[in-house]
Amino acid sequence: MTEEIIIAGFGGQGVLSMGKILAYSGIMQDQEVSWMPAYGPEMRGGTANVTVIISDERINSPVLNAYDTAIILNQQSMNKFEETVKPGGVLLYDPNGISKHPTRTDINIYQVEAAAEAARLKVGKSFNMVVLGAYLKIKPIVEHENVIKGLKKSLPERYHHLIPMNETAISSGEKIVKQTQKA
């Protein structure tokens, strides 16, 4: 099994940390992982993206131009990454702020209204965990207990009291994700 994912959105949406949690979750179940951010000025308030690969085998290239899954959280990223999803692959996005919705018919498209859900749950900062929950519902590549271990590993100890809140966000994401296009 090899899963190649791009997560892209605005800086501050928790794109990089979501990738990190996913990568750590993979490590927790003894898989090979790589986490490769686009770094530099792109991180300073503009768009941010990270490539995460989780595999049973040694990972070769950490940089890719086609992905099994694209998780897209703003319009700029939609413009850039819709085309990079492999045929039959997954595109997961939050329709909040998206004016041009994806149009491809050869991929599986899912929506998760994560921003709205996070606001409703009053867990604004766990927005990215709602998205993660939605992704794991579509592709349960890491087990729930390993996600929690991954969370613990990537959060500094002083934030560990926030883990239950993140768990709530993950499970609500699992519930509200819906498919809008079948390949």
Binding site: V33, S34, M36, Y39, I59, N60, L64
Partner: protein
């Protein structure tokens, strides 16, 4: 763990005595990691943010002159500033480790990963006829492991060792297994091991030790250069490292190092899925370079373009 952080942690664990550096993207995490980790509390290691890359490399010169295990890191423009210092270090035959997390150039270039400092690295880089031991990791694991390897070679041959990473390996996170903490040498152990040449204070029982790269007597300087070349020959005979992936039955072989080798490995995988017998030869040491090994492919492989044509191109452009 990021590649940059792995190198910093590895330096602490292999008992390094000092790090002197200056921030530059995409390697600032090295200095940041040290400052957050406070190795002076863990092992007694000294860490200092210098006023410039030039000051940092000269701090390395000062520290290495005393037999201590010291390292610095930077990225391409900063490494250019260190070249004078590297030439002095090579001339004075001092052991040290220098990390270059390469970014695009020339000039200020950009901050994206690149391999464009290849020539500078393998040809010496500064003035005078000298070499650095150059080793190129292609993963976070190797980033950590090669810090130790680089120090070993640096002290074995009294030569500056360069770890040629890049922005991709420096910034990416992968699983890494770190080796156990090794003890730092005490001052007494440093004097015992390296007191024959290091400037540790002239005791009554020995002549004074001088660290210099200056010799105003032409014949003596020539002898010194010959001795350096002999040392480089020995390193070329003994310290070459490379990895072969699917080379045995390959019709064509790609030669690539570092991040490029990772990407080419993907190419090999995709080609093999289509039935094309592609292999990958990854030089790990870039100086000394595994040229003999690559030359051998010319005799044993078939196909168009033949691997020896690849070699010719490589020789033409890289060697």
């Amino acid at each position: 763990m990021k590649g940059n952080e792995a190198m910093a942690e590895a330096a602490i664990r292999c008992g390094a005595d000092g790090y002197f550096g200056y921030p530059i993207t995409p390697q600032s995490e090295v200095l940041e990691y040290f400052m957050a980790e406070e190795p002076w509390n863990r092992t007694g290691m000294v860490v200092l943010q210098a006023e410039s890359e030039i000051a940092a490399i000269n701090m390395i010169y000062g520290g290495a002159s005393t037999g201590k295990k010291v390292l610095t890191s930077s990225s391409s423009p900063g490494i250019s500033l260190k070249q004078e210092g590297l030439s002095y270090l090579a001339g004075a035959e001092l052991p040290c480790v220098v990390i270059n997390v390469v970014r695009g150039g020339p000039g200020l270039g950009d901050i994206q990963p690149a391999q464009s400092d290849y020539f500078q690295s393998v040809k010496g880089g500064g003035h005078g006829d000298y070499k650095l031991f150059v080793i190129a990791p292609s993963s976070v694991q190797e980033s950590a492991d090669f810090v130790k390897k680089a120090f070993d070679i640096a002290f074995k041959y009294r030569i500056p060792a360069l770890i040629l990473s890049d922005g991709a390996i420096g910034q990416m996170m992968e699983k890494v297994e770190l080796f156990e903490q090794e003890e730092r040498l005490t001052d007494e152990q440093v004097i015992e091991k390296y007191g024959s040449w290091a400037t540790t204070g002239k005791t009554a029982d020995r002549e004074r030790n001088i660290i210099t790269s200056l010799d105003l007597i032409p014949e003596r300087l020539e002898d010194h250069n010959k001795q350096l070349q002999a040392k480089y020959k020995k390193i070329e005979e003994n310290e070459i490292m490379f990895e072969e992936i699917h080379c045995d039955d390959a019709d064509h072989i790609i030669v690539a190092y570092g991040t490029s080798a990772r990407i080419c490995q993907k190419t090999v995988q995709l080609a093999r899925e289509k039935g094309i017998k592609l292999g990958l030869m990854r030089p790990i040491t870039l100086w000394p370079f595994p040229k003999k090994k690559i030359a051998e492919y010319g005799d044993t492989k078939k196909g168009i373009p033949t691997p020896d044509e690849v070699l010719t191109a490589f020789e033409k452009h890289f060697m």
